[in-house]
């Protein structure tokens, strides 16, 4: 399945794009997303390792199994306030 990943702040800046499309096997977990992202944007590996991932606007952990249509966002450490 194809999954669209949204990037923010410095991550978006490094990737040079706010959206990346990933091609994932069925029943892939979020860990696979992290792994593919680090491969696609190697310069962002360090920041990626410190970033959280949200699925459908909720924080999610590595073991989560993705479904077609899920909205993924990669959130580098937040700095609001």
């Amino acid at each position: 399945m194809t999954i669209v990943v949204e990037l923010f702040a410095r991550l978006r800046e490094i990737a040079g794009t706010p959206y990346l499309e990933l091609e994932l096997p069925d029943s892939a977990t979020l860990a696979v997303v992290r792994w593919q992202l680090a491969e696609r944007v190697p310069e962002a590996a360090s920041l990626l390792s410190k970033s959280a991932i949200a699925v459908n606007e909720c924080y999610a952990d590595e073991t989560m199994i993705l479904q077609s249509g899920d909205r993924i966002a990669v959130l580098p450490p937040v700095s609001g306030g």
Partner: protein, 137 residues
């Protein structure tokens, strides 16, 4: 009132939103753009958010706070876009029957906002650079 805005934050509106007949204590926190951070000057800050999720997180924070304190009303507004020195970046207002709860709840809310709401700032320095701020990264 739990929201993001591109307009100036009006403290009076936050207070208005939380004042109630049975709340004797209101605490308002304003986070403003500070000129100096660890000796480094800031010219402006630019905020962006993952907006839909940010509003969801604000609602979750309110629910968490209400489990712990007898809150009358609560309001949080976070500004987005480019802000100058002394502009208000975030406002949190909480009313409770008693002041100790209002202080603790307001402190909890702003701490949680800074920890988990997907908002980022970019620091514009006098040298003309603009650096995203990612604590710990």
């Amino acid at each position: 009132m739990l929201t993001l805005t591109h307009e100036s934050i009006e403290p009076a509106a936050l207070l208005q939103a939380v004042m109630c007949r049975d709340c004797g204590g209101v605490v308002l926190f304003l986070g403003t753009v500070r000129e100096l951070t660890n000796g480094q000057a800031t010219v402006a800050l630019e905020y962006e958010a993952y907006a839909g999720m940010a509003e969801k997180e604000l609602h979750a924070i309110e629910a968490n706070a209400r489990e712990r304190w007898p809150i009358g009303a609560m309001a949080v507004v976070h500004r987005l876009g480019k802000l100058d020195i002394m502009d208000i970046a975030v406002g949190v207002a909480v009313s409770c029957p008693h002041r100790a709860d209002a202080f603790e709840a307001a402190r909890f809310v702003i701490d949680e906002v800074k920890k988990r709401v997907p908002i980022w700032k970019r620091d514009h320095t006098p040298e003309g650079t603009a650096v995203w701020v990612h604590p710990g990264a």
